[in-house]
């Protein structure tokens, strides 16, 4: 494969996977944040 083409093809796949992984992390963080908040309220630490 031509060197410059290889660069672009790799960049494309890298960006795609960056989005997938990035969004996954985003959802995980939102979930654990909400979960932590919920647990702390229920355990009374916020009263």
């Amino acid at each position: 494969m031509e060197a410059s083409n290889l660069l672009f093809v790799s960049a494309a796949y890298a960006v795609a996977w960056a989005m997938f992984i990035g969004y996954f992390v985003h959802v995980r963080r939102a979930t654990s944040r909400a979960r932590a908040l919920l647990d702390s309220v229920n355990s009374g630490s916020l009263r």
Binding site: F8, V9, V15, F20, A34, R35, D39, G44, R47
Partner: protein, 244 residues
């Protein structure tokens, strides 16, 4: 309105396992589809190996075109039934749609630079995708800037419906605009050698998108439960654990 005390485990436990399994399935399917597509496709006559970019760009574009209709569906459902779940699903769909639209744009540029020599050429499909991206960003901004829950849900639904209706209109008008000014066209994808790879990846991306929407929705449900719990604690209408 009193709510039974929700712990994070009761809200999501039964669903989480099914969702996680689906997530794993989607991930494996995606990896397999990408490997297969890359392995079995010969270099294109004109594009050479750049053709392989299409296995991420085209499925991403297809998902980006599908997602706004998901927003439309849940927005309509919300205005009809006024269930908060539908609003949260619409919002989750919009967020995922934004991610896929943005991805499509970047991949289009990565494909465009070596192909056309420029990062951006106001091509009809890319331009309308850009407008769609901005419409979605507007939707998310509205949600970020409105705090009252009912108002946010109702306004989001109205904005989501109008935005979704506008997407095909924008595509049509931009396409006419571009044909008048003659410009290069987007990649053609009809060559049968590539159809298998495209179809596989299309399904893979679809599974990933469904997983993302469902997972984001799950997080939103938790956020809502936490909000309710906070409210109850603040108002002193707390649940059974520690009656106030």
């Amino acid at each position: 309105m009193a709510h039974a005390a929700l712990s994070s485990t009761t809200v999501t436990a039964p669903r989480t396992n099914r969702l996680a399994m689906f997530g794993w399935f989607a991930f494996v399917f995606l990896v397999a589809s990408q490997i297969i597509a890359i392995a079995i496709s010969p270099p294109d006559r004109d594009m050479g190996d750049l053709q392989k970019i299409l296995y991420v760009h085209v499925p991403s574009a297809w998902m980006s075109m599908l997602a706004p209709f998901t927003v439309l569906y849940f927005s309509l459902l919300y205005l009809w039934k006024k269930r908060e779940e539908d609003d949260l699903l619409a919002a989750a769909s919009a967020e995922v749609a934004t991610a896929f639209s943005g991805l499509t744009l970047v991949l289009g540029m990565i494909w465009g630079k070596p192909t056309w020599g420029v990062w951006w050429a106001w091509d009809a499909r890319m331009t309308s995708m850009l407008v769609q991206f901005l419409i979605l960003v507007g939707y998310l901004s509205l949600r970020a800037l409105v705090d009252e829950r009912d108002r946010r849900a109702q306004w989001s639904a109205a904005v989501g419906i109008l935005g979704a209706i506008n997407v095909p209109i924008v595509y049509m008008s931009v396409r006419w605009w571009r044909t008048l000014h003659q410009i290069q066209s987007s990649p053609a994808t009809v060559d049968p050698a590539y159809v298998i790879g495209l179809r596989l990846n299309a399904f893979a991306f679809l599974f990933v998108m469904i997983y993302f929407i469902r997972a984001r929705y799950g997080a939103a449900l938790l956020e809502r439960a936490a909000e309710h719990a906070l409210q109850d604690a603040a108002l002193g209408t707390g649940g059974s654990n520690h009656g106030s």
